[in-house]
Symmetry: C2
Subunit: 329 residues, 2 copies
């Protein structure tokens, strides 16, 4: 391993000088500069980040905590975060918590032990965060936490839009699939939907799910069609569950969207590839990741941040699990 000492020796200067050119701060003569640069080149030197981090008590690393990268909602989030951080030469320390408090705790602890400059977390449990203010700037992503920096999409409005679209397109007996209540975005969209439905004149009922897995959604969908055969509109908690419902509906011979309309939530990549392609509420996922990273960067640099909570808009994506409607007017 070649160190700053070797470079100094090679260039015939002190380590202090080499350090100065490395960080280009402080005076250094042009000739000296050249000598040092040549030495660096010659020895193929590259500074040891660990030593730097130790001295500065802060690394160029950011901790990213996700529930599960395998859930198709998250890869784009992660990408948004990474692309933004990468531009400023920050790197990602990455972990999946499975919403398991112990795992989460363990990851956060090692993030901190590795002296990350900041943390972005898309988890809800946040056992650690709840206890105390974390030692480094932290931004929550997709999940809201009272009094914390947060970037998320307007799930409430999304739920409303979904419900309105379903009603507007003619559903008169709607079933809402309600996801786990402790996941804030899931709860928000549910509340939004119910708010609109309650104020409308359509019949509706709610089926509670304990998870958002495809498998459970399949079960619930069976139940749904058995229990509420008159249902002609379904609001799913997310696209994955919508896919399960869609398949079950097709399996038992329902015409989609003629007999039953379905609206999902998220707009994950697969949604447009389903058949019929899935109408859904789109979250600006990449943008959310990006904005979370930007916010964190500001926090790290102690720049002024206008607001603690950034809420991004969602939008209805009309595809083929909802009926067409005449142009408004």
């Amino acid at each position: 391993m070649v160190t700053i000492r070797d470079v100094a020796a090679e260039a015939g200067v002190s380590v202090a000088t080499v350090s100065r050119v490395l960080n280009n701060k402080g005076y250094v003569h042009e000739d000296t500069l050249r000598k040092v640069q040549q030495a660096i080149e010659k020895l193929n030197y590259s500074p040891n980040e660990v030593a730097r981090s130790l001295f500065k008590r802060q690394s160029k690393l950011v901790g990213l905590l996700l529930p599960d990268i395998t859930n198709p909602f998250f890869p784009e989030l992660a990408r948004g975060v990474e692309d933004e951080l990468q531009k400023q030469d920050f790197r990602l320390l990455f972990g999946n918590s499975d919403e398991n408090p112990e795992k989460e705790q363990a990851y956060i602890e090692t993030f901190l032990q590795n002296q990350v400059v900041g943390i972005i977390s898309a988890t809800q449990t946040s056992g650690m965060f709840n206890q105390e203010q974390p030692a480094v700037p932290t931004v929550f992503l997709d999940r809201t936490h009272e009094g914390r920096y947060t970037v998320y999409a307007d799930g409430r409005e999304g739920g409303k839009i979904a419900a309105r679209e379903l009603v507007r397109r003619g559903s008169r007996n709607i079933t809402v699939l309600k996801g786990p209540g402790h996941i804030s975005p899931v709860q928000d969209r549910f509340l939004g939907a119910v708010e609109v439905l309650a104020a409308s004149s359509v019949d509706f009922q709610v089926i509670q799910m304990a998870s958002l897995t495809y498998e459970e959604a399949e079960e619930r969908a069976k139940e749904l069609f058995r229990q509420y055969p008159a249902t002609d509109g379904i609001l799913a908690s997310n696209d994955m569950t919508a896919a399960a419902v869609l398949h079950e509906a097709l399996r038992i011979g329902k015409a989609i969207p003629e007999e039953v309309q379905i609206i999902g939530f998220d707009d994950i990549p697969m949604s447009r590839l389903l058949f019929p392609s899935l109408s859904t509420i789109k979250q600006p996922v990449y943008e959310m990741g990006k904005q979370a990273a930007q916010l964190l960067l500001k926090l790290i640099k102690k720049e002024e941040v206008a607001e603690q909570i950034i809420q991004l808009p969602v939008s209805f994506v009309e595809r083929n699990t909802t009926r067409k409607v005449k142009a408004d007017g």
Copy 2:
């Protein structure tokens, strides 16, 4: 920040002693042990990994380089890697290279600067790796590299199986969509398929794609049906392109699988949710990630490793883009 010094002071011992209990190596009296543990508890001390890494010239970090986590093939790979490493308290430094040599170079450099103990790379370009043996144990995943530790699935055999299944199920005019030749697994499956087709009595043609994007596949699919209207069987480079072909086929009114059969490759999560659900060649993706991590762990610990290359088997997943065939016999 509470340091080992604080703990030592609190416990009334030297830092050396605290270090000994931390790493439980060397003699330490039972009473002393207790005192130190209490001090640690009381001060809520947790050792600084950065300082450790600096001294040991080696961290508890592993670099994971992926082309793009947004490509649905990779999340499960990453998960396999992470789950395995996490058990042994290693953490992941994570980056997407987009198969861009500069990005890749930059990531690897920072991995090394952060003194990772090892690297797992699923990239093909590997500008850096090609030059010289990297400074730390490195395992290639999904992509093969001459003379390097590698974990991958048997794409060649997969290509053969796919071709055989298509022929066996009655396709007589087959189009092979060939992905970018520089990506080894993609090339392997192509070669396997062609090998079987060439030895068979069916007609076949090849369409070359410059990428594996859905968008390009859509274009090529249009071309395909225009140029080779007699095609009754399609071998796609992966499931994503298969999905595009499937949609285009449906759009122009082809009956699937009656008029045209399609087989994908990978078995990404969406494949079973397509309509008709996609027959494909399944790669044991999670397992691949896991094995790569296990291999790297062995390398790190300088344990004996039986072989440099681990090849995992693939399998045909029969779904509904291929015709049923009577039981063999």
